[in-house]
């Protein structure tokens, strides 16, 4: 197959696709350091917008909310998702296929549908919208992702180690905590980091289930964008993208680590 060469059109085309994927993000980051407020012309390097950002109490408040939501949602969804992956791997029961299909639903359901159905639900059961409702919603959409990642790890796991532990007299409980979990750990941490990122970045669902005073960073960005493009948004966006990139890179490394 003659597609490997550097001078092949296919290689150039693919290169252009990568440029398409990354150029807008690079533009965003570059603009966040631009002295000029309104123009696209480069007028010099500045930290001004980042300094303005950390001096804005509303942004800091949103950051605090985002961190609370993402950390709590990460912990809960990692525990529940890992248990679910283990349960589906370990046991056979009637309705397993249906259960699998239902877990697939939150992934394919449009976020806006999830958002409005939850807001109807919370209003009907008289729960006030706030951080609590955001966390509940985030855990619900994080669980299937954690489940998938941990499950992939489980499928690549050496099952004989579990059997050996059981043969040597360990009960299922001990085997799970002393043999299964340590083997799964890189996968679980990767899943947790991705759950954190998903939750930290989520806009659409949060938009519907957030209440007064529970603005998260993406909500803050959205309300700023509605007022118009500004270098402050560029700086905030660049920061959030950097955090995501770091976490995703770590998660990717962990997932590649062999069992």
């Amino acid at each position: 197959m003659k597609v490997r060469g550097f001078f092949q059109p296919l290689t150039w085309f693919t290169g252009a696709c990568y440029l398409f994927l990354y150029l807008p993000i690079c533009v965003l980051v570059a603009f966040s350091f631009n002295t000029s407020r309104f123009s696209v012309v480069w007028r010099g390097f500045t930290w001004e917008w980042y300094i303005k950002l950390i001096q804005d109490p509303l942004v800091l408040d949103a950051l605090k909310n985002s961190l609370i939501v993402a950390v709590v949602a990460m912990i809960l969804s990692t525990i529940i998702g890992t248990l679910t992956a283990y349960g589906l791997y370990r046991y056979r029961f009637r309705g397993k296929t249906v259960f699998d299909g239902i877990l697939f639903l939150p992934i394919v359901t449009p976020e806006i549908v999830v958002g409005i159905s939850l807001v109807i639900f919370f209003v009907l059961i008289h729960v006030n919208l706030g951080l609590k409702t955001i966390i509940i919603a985030h855990v619900a959409f994080d669980i299937p992702f954690v489940m998938l990642i941990v499950r992939a790890r489980l499928q690549g796991m050496d099952r004989t180690l579990e059997e050996a532990a059981m043969d040597l007299g360990a009960d299922e409980w001990t085997t799970f905590f002393k043999v299964t979990i340590p083997q799964l750990l890189p996968g679980i941490i990767a899943a947790a980091l991705l759950a954190f990122t998903l939750s930290f970045d989520d806009f659409v669902i949060t938009f519907f289930v957030a209440g007064v005073g529970s603005t998260t960073l993406p909500l803050k960005i959205y309300s700023m964008v509605r007022l118009g493009v500004s270098p402050k948004i560029n700086a905030l966006s660049a920061l959030i993208v950097s955090v995501s990139i770091i976490l995703i890179t770590i998660a990717d490394r962990l997932q590649r680590k062999s069992v």
Partner: protein, 299 residues
């Protein structure tokens, strides 16, 4: 020590009942997804058949009206636009994503992982921010207009933002990884000896591609198309930021009803229609691509 005694007793109980044990492990998930995902969907479906009350509430009276309103040309137009844009996005990404996935699959092993990672990275980063980045490029005083002016190609800025074209571009940008990843997975598994056989038997590259490569990577093509079409139909952020009020899609209609219009039953009906389209697409896909393995492919 009492703790271990209790633990042993619980374990013994569970040991005797495997079904109970599996239920114990799976119950947190069943509880959470059941109460905070499935039940709300049921509530939404119910709401879509209720009459709109004063001040954004509902009257608990049954009506079809929220659905019959979609016969109105205004709303039909939104539905059609949503379909048109989602379909076009899928086709464009298939054309762009296939060669890209093919090239990645044929890259040196040490490059392949990096290239793949560079596709996965945007997949996990914020859609909102990635869409906003395009606003910087496309707006009247944005990068592209600035560049064109600098090169003396145009005098007056082109209105690129708030058009259907901008939505298409934004969707293609945001969902490119969704197309490339499943395509890559199926192209990578492709048995190259079959391609060589086709070549030896005299197939031209074009026919070899059409008759051998495409059928063998059908699962990836279907999975990628599904993964692009579904979120495109339900999109809200991209069409809101890049399309504005002129190019509304279903997602924006839903948001409008739950926001300023305060007509929750109508918004629920629109949302229910959206959900139905998605489920039909998934079932159609499963039927086409063949059940459980097809689901695995999507993952």
């Amino acid at each position: 020590m009492e703790n271990t005694g209790l633990r042993k007793r619980i374990l013994k109980f569970f040991n005797r009942h495997e079904n109970l044990r599996s239920f114990g492990v799976l119950s947190p998930c069943i509880f959470w997804i059941g109460i905070f995902f499935l039940l709300p969907l049921l509530f939404m479906a119910t709401y879509s058949f209720l009459e709109r009350g004063l001040y954004g509430g509902v009257n608990w009276l049954f009506t079809w009206e929220n659905y019959t309103r979609f016969v109105d040309p205004l709303y039909l137009k939104i539905l059609l636009r949503t379909f048109r844009i989602s379909f076009l996005t899928t086709v464009i990404l298939l054309i762009v994503g296939y060669p890209m996935a093919y090239r990645i699959a044929r890259a040196d092993k040490r490059w392949r992982n990096i290239l793949l990672f560079l596709v996965i990275l945007p997949f996990w980063t914020s859609d909102l921010i990635r869409t906003y980045a395009w606003m910087l490029i496309l707006r009247d005083t944005g990068l592209l207009n600035g560049l064109l002016k600098y090169l003396h190609i145009i005098r007056e800025p082109l209105s690129l933002l708030y058009t259907e074209g901008a939505i298409l571009l934004g969707l293609a940008y945001v969902y490119l990884p969704f197309m490339v990843l499943p395509l890559y997975a199926s192209i990578e598994k492709l048995d190259t000896s079959l391609l060589e056989a086709a070549e030896d038997l005299g197939a031209t590259p074009f026919w070899r591609f059409l008759k051998v490569t495409v059928p063998l990577t059908k699962s990836g093509i279907l999975a990628g198309s599904l993964l692009v079409f579904i979120p495109s139909v339900g999109v809200f952020v991209v069409s809101d930021l890049l399309g504005g009020a002129k190019a509304m899609m279903i997602g924006n209609l839903v948001q409008l009803q739950f926001g300023p219009a305060r007509n929750w039953p109508f918004g629920s009906a629109a949302s229910f229609i959206l959900m139905t389209i998605v489920l039909l697409a998934v079932f159609g896909y499963l039927k086409f691509a063949g059940g459980k393995e097809a689901l695995e492919e999507v993952r």
